[in-house]
């Protein structure tokens, strides 16, 4: 297996003898003007051709800067570099590297250019280019999210590998006089025409003294030896043997354990507290204030949690409606011009279109992220520097926030990003790291690991935004003639950005994402409008963000319309679909299940749904049977098009896992508020799916899309409506609200 490397950051002074081997590098071809952070502390004789490759006399280190929440990007990034560098993954060390603007995400903004992701017209591409340039200048942010890590990495990392390879060849040529065009590379070595070879590690010192080759050509995918083939993930053995260190497993000499208690009415005040009982409990070292709460520092996590549970509090009220019904009432009252977020799409005239009306109202609840590793961060503050060990999706911004808390220059704040035990968007938030920094800053010199109890994690999860949809469809002559989709939701982007002191310019696209850009181009009349409210519970990006609720609304309404028209749910979607890769995923999923209609008789039914999110079309068919006891999920077929498959094994795992995630929450989960507090406190009332409910799932990957895309989120949106539509086909019962188990029982 490959090894996990650690890069000590800036441990040497620039300009000292220690970096003689590294400072001579010139400009490299990667599309970033930022200096290569690896050069800051490069050991003598080591070469770093760009931010992603370091070679010294004993090893090759590949930097995989995108955060790994479980999606496998750690391994995938290394594979992209290795493909062009001609090294085996087993022979390299892989490291998350150090947070640096050189690793800023160039793909994350693509979705925000105001054009649908399928639109690759010159105007759309120009806008994406402008936006990318602005971000580079204004806020070059290192971030992993929005299913953007693969598209962000694909060209940059292969290019990084190719630059390193060509530079090593040049070094070998200079050393031997053999022309570069007679040199080949394989297995981490340069091969000479006479059959002899020299290892990259032996060339590192010489290579470090020449300017990296800037003119490289990427290989045709037909020549790939690693990419596109089934891979073994670099973290798999460690994750199967308990040897992988997550943030919560970090241990260091003298480390104390802490936990926090904050107002369970999120954002409400802390009026007073009494911690006298906690102070004398065994192992308790300190009781410290943190923003809006109290931390207990002890010598053991359990002791800290036990002590925190004895503290009594007087909390202020919630800054949002205390009761869940009022959240729904707020949304029900938001379908008016006053709350208009965007007239997102108008085709024809959905209001005036002819046909029989089909009307529906749909609800998508709050949902906790609840990754299995509770929120935690370890921080050590000294007068000179701050070290942070945690898993986070926005690395550079995290360092700045901690610098603001502790008063250090950001150059002296060092995040050591860790593998995450899931995130689903939870680790886009900063509160837990802020608190760990606040605690550690009050006991400088002592490392402190802050761990949320599971109950605290649930109470302070900023959940998926609550959404209500209202739809009117018109059907005529056996066809769907019009859709009018209106969506009201708590603005997720305003809530999330507000917590980091940023405002959202313009409307919140997440409130219509997945609905306004569903490429049913042959639908003659369509209107998509969204309405935003901001006074409900604080919310955050939850895997697939807006497309989750919006595709549920859109595809359930569409299914109702197709049924009313007497058409076939798969065939009518194919007829309406104008986007070729999307047609192909619908055809593929039909082919996979030998589609023969939705109603299979004897209480057995199939539901179809299509979702377009993060540039990826996905079609899902769910088959259920209505048993004597309840609904049983029998089988699911999923087809998705990511443009280019990097690792078919991991992609298959993401497709199935994402489908389980989407189905499980649609069936079983919601967060509701009472007395201003989330009523769900642990997994016993937020189970999602367990193994006994998991259907057999079959997945097919297609590669017809023009651009490479990420697949961490796209399987989620169509899974919920596909299940709801299947339940209708099996039972005749139309469920318009998640979770479905409020309306029907599952086996």
């Amino acid at each position: 297996m490959s090894r996990f490397g650690k890069i000590a950051r800036r441990s040497f002074l620039i300009g000292s003898a220690a970096v003689v081997g590294g400072v001579a590098f010139g400009v490299y071809k990667a599309k970033t003007p930022f200096p290569n952070p690896n050069l800051d502390d490069l050991a003598p004789g080591s070469a770093s051709f760009n931010p992603w490759v370091i070679i010294d006399s004993d090893k090759i280190t590949l930097i995989a800067p995108h955060a790994d929440k479980g999606q496998g990007i750690f391994s995938a990034q290394a594979a992209m570099i290795a493909e062009e560098l001609d090294v085996a993954l087993d022979d390299v060390e892989i490291s998350f590297g150090v947070p640096d603007r050189a690793y800023y995400n160039t793909a994350a903004m693509d979705a925000m250019a105001g054009y649908p992701m399928y639109d690759n017209s010159p105007a759309a591409e120009r806008m994406r280019g402008v936006l990318g340039g602005v971000i580079k200048l204004v806020m070059p942010m290192m971030a992993t999210g929005g299913s953007s890590a693969i598209p962000d990495s694909y060209d940059k990392l292969r290019e990084a590998g190719a630059i390193a390879r060509e530079t090593l060849k040049l070094a070998a040529s200079q050393n031997t006089g053999v022309p570069v065009d007679q040199l080949k590379t394989e297995g981490g070595a340069v091969l000479f025409p006479d059959g002899s070879a020299v290892k990259y590690t032996e060339l590192a010192e010489l290579a470090s003294t020449i300017d990296p080759v800037t003119d490289v050509t990427l290989r045709d995918p037909k020549e790939w030896k690693i990419l596109g083939k089934p891979m073994k993930r670099a973290d798999m053995v460690a994750k199967s043997t308990g040897t992988l260190q997550y943030g919560i497993d970090f241990r260091t000499e003298g480390m104390l354990h802490a936990t926090v208690k904050m107002n369970p009415r999120q954002g409400g005040a802390l009026n007073s507290y009494d911690a006298s009982a906690a102070e004398n409990m065994r192992g308790v070292k300190k009781i410290l204030p943190v923003q809006n709460g109290v931390a207990v520092v002890a010598d053991n996590t359990w002791r800290a949690i036990q002590a925190a549970n004895t503290i009594t509090f007087d909390w202020g009220p919630a800054p949002y409606p205390a009761e869940q019904d009022d959240h729904w009432h707020t949304l029900a009252g938001a379908f008016s011009e006053e709350f208009l977020n965007a007239d997102a799409r108008t085709v024809g005239d959905a209001g005036a279109a002819e046909g029989t009306s089909v009307i529906g109202e749909y609800r998508s609840p709050y949902l906790a992220h609840a990754p299995l590793e509770p929120l935690n961060a370890t921080v050590l503050v000294t007068d000179d520097r701050v070290d942070i060990w945690t898993g986070h999706q926005i690395q550079t911004m995290l360092e700045q926030r901690v610098a603001d808390i502790t008063g250090h220059d950001v150059e002296n704040v060092h995040l050591h990003n860790m593998f995450m035990g899931g995130s689903f968007g939870h680790r886009l938030e900063f509160g837990f790291v802020d608190q760990a920094a606040e605690i550690a800053n009050q006991i400088r010199g002592t490392p402190v690991q802050l761990t949320y109890s599971r109950e605290e994690d649930f109470a302070h999860d900023y959940p998926r935004h609550i959404t209500m949809g209202r739809g009117v469809a018109k059907v005529k002559d056996g066809k769907v003639n019009a859709l009018d989709v209106q969506i009201a939701g708590q603005s997720v982007m305003k809530s999330q950005m507000g917590r980091i002191g940023m405002s959202l310019p313009g409307p919140d696209a997440q409130l219509h994402e997945g609905a306004w850009d569903a490429p049913y181009f042959n639908l003659l009349n369509l209107r998509v409008r969204s309405y935003a409210v901001e006074n409900l519970a604080p919310v955050s990006s939850w895997r697939a963000v807006g497309a989750g609720p919006n595709v549920f609304i859109y595809e359930t309404l569409l299914d109702e319309a197709i049924h009313a028209a007497g058409a076939d749910p798969l065939m009518e979607r194919i007829r309406l679909m104008g986007h070729e890769p999307s047609v192909k995923v619908l055809e593929a999923v039909g082919d996979m299940c030998n589609w023969a209609g939705a109603d299979l008789g004897n209480g057995r039914g199939r539901g179809v749904a299509y979702g377009f999110s993060f540039g990826v079309p996905v079609a899902t068919i769910v088959e259920v049977v209505n048993t004597d006891d309840a609904i049983k999920l029998e089988k699911v077929w999923v087809a998705g098009d990511v443009g280019k498959v990097i690792d078919p094994v991991n992609l298959d795992n993401l497709a199935k896992g994402g489908t389980v995630f989407g189905l499980g929450h649609a069936m079983n989960c919601e967060i509701t508020y009472s007395d201003g507090m989330a009523e769900q406190a642990n997994y016993y009332d937020f189970e999602a799916m367990r193994l006994n409910q998991c259907p057999e799932i079959e997945f097919r990957a297609l590669e017809n899309g023009e651009k490479i895309r990420g697949f961490g989120e796209p399987p989620i949106p169509p899974s919920a409506p596909a299940l709801g539509n299947a339940i209708f086909a099996a039972t005749g019962k139309r469920i318009r609200e998640m979770p479905f188990n409020k309306h029907i029982d599952f086996v």
Partner: protein, 153 residues
Amino acid sequence: MKLTVNGTPHEVSVEEDMPLLWVLRDELGVTGVKYGCGVAQCGACTVTLNGEAVRSCQVPAADLEGAEVTTIEGLGTPDNLHIVQQAWEKHQVAQCGYCQSGQIMQAAAFLSQNPNPTDADIDDAMSGNLCRCGTYPRIREAVKDAASMLQGA
């Protein structure tokens, strides 16, 4: 009290009600066992206690005198994988991996008692272990494969 963890004897002096999970993680530094829920709902803390799979968050220290505990670290190592771990690697089960220590310990204990399980047996045995990433299809395949490998062994 005295207990043995992965073959190594230890003596710890803790409260009688401190759960085994925290004895392992915070007193003995054995971090392969994971904290997920603290209330026996997720299974991430599964270890074997005298050969039986248990949720270590529910075992008080008072019950540990003379106990033999095996955690994921004691089942196999990266260089010497247990058959269940081999199956996990072969089927590339993990995504985030945080639940997998518990899944593997549960599967290993289950297969040692039921070496030839039906699909329903597997569902029953493994449904107490939550996986938030949804790796269940691969867990099923890996357990079945491990069972057949154990039969052949």
